[in-house]
Symmetry: D2
Subunit: 270 residues, 4 copies
């Protein structure tokens, strides 16, 4: 949360499809870039939040400097062609902030982003086919905050197919399963926890289809931002510690004692 | 949520220990009953919520009538000696409301309440010993909303021991693990989802010890109320349905169409 | 395991569709009943196991007497029209044996069997449509023993559709997800643990389609029997116990001491 | 499984404490090294398996060559002082084999091994204290194969304390929780799945205490080897694939067709 008490959300997109005008119609469906469309949806849904964007072209480590991350409650990540261009030390930094409590929302082809495979430990491989077929997104955990007010199924008329086997660890929560006209299925909305950070992966969205303008997709992403944000958490990474033998005492009656006793052993990140 | 836009929380306690003055000092540590102490903690932590209480002596199915449950966002449950006196048709009703989206927080000896074993399907057995020994409550999932701002460990100077094997299904989230001076351990804070309802079981608290006055225990319970409440959810039980073959169409561009199309197949409970 | 060291598997089917000759072609696709086809598949896959069958017509509580269950390592359950005719005290007994360690495999319309909703605590509702459409069964957890050697997808040319929302608790493991020609998806292969018992629900199979003759479906069911069986486990239900304060001592060096010290607190069921 | 049909198990230990004679009594409690004691326990429990050992001093990438891993069904890992000396390309290789289906059992201070943090994505930090205090290991999932026949609690008279917060992702299964004389708790036996590989972390064991001679600890480790081994699995990493639109057909009646149709899209590792 920033000094004005607003939630800080950063929408990161490599921005390469836009720069290359590839596909040719990308400028028509995403005149402000994929990040621009996502940010517009968030500004509408979360008028009290501060939504900013950055790309590989942004100064200071593509907008992912230590200071920028320290000021970010939730980071959204879109990448596809340029995963390898994100330098490892920036990925290290993003990972540290996620473990310390920054929310992370990884979208579509971001399944192969370094930060995602790094946090999950698997290949994150999948099957895909780009023929603009219909995707249906079914809610299977309606009690989850990310499913709040979401239609089931969400219907996306034309989409790239992502299919199983999706090589990820068992998620904490499986919220959405998609089917495609060709018969494939995909765990399209899944959560993970790593350290203190909450992570959501959501597969819909592509450079060829105007998916991020779909009101229901925008709803899911806005819900996910609300769920992943922990503005009050101490942004700090857990660290190993040598814990002396302690006579644990109830300090609930002694505010003074409690105030002087460190209860966490962490390295502050902001 | 009630008409004034307030969260409605109902603290239910069988109230038998208090009525029997058993143990003799219960009136001293819980002059307003166990429910009274829990309610006082919630009123302090959640000043905008409407907190009420009921016991086995309350009129209209011990305060658990259809109307009362329909108006309740989160139900807290404390019972010990009189589980069998809660009639099955009231348990049926509570179960329906939980499946329909009412939050449920089961405390301490409520592990043997009919509503808890009914929702979990296991015996919910455990080991116990009442010698007033120290309990330490360790946070193991700090990213969970219920752990927000909670010290680790919480120190309870004198408590009844609850130990493994706790015969419950694998929880959705394991948030707290307790150790006792005698060496036993217990999964003391666990969540479950049943239907659309969010359930939290929290073991600390007993008729002999003033645990519900402990500021950190109050914090956990208040956090749990916030997490379990879904005031905007349609309180309705899922029901089986014969789904005709449908040409699923994207209705996102047609608000009128969407408004007239039912998206759920449920039996409304309120 | 029986005295000959063989695994004991009991295939239970209400047997009502067969008795009523409903549908008319059931005698053609299942000349030995649905249970007969399942048993035949198991006999082929597990030649060393002892496979028996029972129905609602079988003597002694439909073949589910205390003695029969005590001798059963894994129980398979198929029911549809007659769930209500299974008496509650028999369901109590089956539940006790599952909690004590008997494996349970619930098939297709058994999702509404009393034993299943009892163990899960939810409605187990779903969407359905009977138009004989193609089902594809995709493996999403290939490391699970139940997925061993199973093709992905399994193709079933004609099937009843079962669709989400399937109102079950989060499973321990999600192994299979199905899609249907009409676009619906279903968590078609899921595991649960209740007490010491391992439970697998598998949705394919119906009285109208010869699904239990499909080699891949037979493979899944045989794998599940192998996974759910715990022939060496002490069949006993956990029970509450008052645990005296104990000076826990390492008994590993003293075989005599260990042999005389009970390590479990359970009620033996066989 | 090797050509003789035996399970191949490789016990890897950095071997640095032994080489440095640090602590001075290590030669007395582990005359054949930590790996030697673990291997001896496995040879006794699994007489039909082929158990070998390797250390940082072993030729060909410390015994972790491509060929060695291809021939290994389950790899056990013990490390403490020399995690950094394991080269990244060997860690890459081990990770590939785990994702492809090799079992991995990480012991004690191996929580900081590169291969473990790589697969889990978190810091794997914890609290520790080395004062030789009693550890009690409680079973909380008795239905799991790794808990088969294991006493609860296992009593270890003298141990290093490992305490929460243990910074790991939510495990697939939580099997054991430890308490220590000082009051701390630890999730001491946890499973994970990554790719097709099954992973078990078990915290007991240290260079200062003869824990790997304890019969119950040996039982747990032998159980874990049995659980993690998948000798028949195709050792292959999942890979991304462009899946053409397919008319999925039931091939169950045509063995010839099935034999010629690839059902996996993987890169073979052995």
């Amino acid at each position: 949360m920033n000094s004005a008490g607003k939630l800080n959300v950063l929408v990161w997109n490599e921005g390469v499809h836009e720069a290359l005008n590839d596909p040719a119609h990308i400028g028509r469906i995403y005149p402000d870039g994929i990040h621009g469309a996502i940010a517009a949806g968030l500004r509408e849904a979360l008028p009290d939040a501060d939504i900013s964007t950055a790309t590989l072209q942004t100064n200071n480590d593509y907008g992912l400097s230590e200071e920028a991350l320290a000021g970010t409650d939730v980071l959204l990540w879109w990448g596809h062609k340029a995963h390898a261009e994100v330098s490892d030390h920036v990925v290290d930094r993003v990972q540290r902030h996620v473990l310390g409590g920054m929310g992370l929302i990884v979208l579509h082809s971001g399944h192969f982003a370094k930060i995602f495979t790094r946090l999950l430990g698997t290949t994150c491989s999948l099957a895909w086919r780009n023929e603009g077929e219909q995707e249906l997104i079914w809610t299977v955990k309606p009690s989850h905050p990310i499913a709040d007010g979401v239609e089931s199924p969400i219907v996306i008329p034309e989409q790239e197919m992502y299919g199983e086997l999706f090589d990820i660890p068992d998620p904490d929560d499986l919220i959405f399963i998609s089917s495609f006209a060709g018969g494939e299925v995909f765990r399209s909305g899944v959560t993970f926890t790593r350290g203190k950070g909450r992570i959501f992966y959501f597969s819909p969205g592509d450079q060829e289809y105007p998916v991020y303008h779909h009101p229901q997709i925008r709803r899911v992403i806005a819900n996910a931002v609300g769920w992943a944000a922990q503005p009050d958490v101490t942004r700090a990474a857990p660290e190993v510690r040598n814990q002396p033998r302690t006579r644990y005492e109830d300090r609930s009656g002694s505010e003074q004692l409690r105030a002087s006793t460190p209860v966490t052993h962490e390295v502050a990140l902001r």
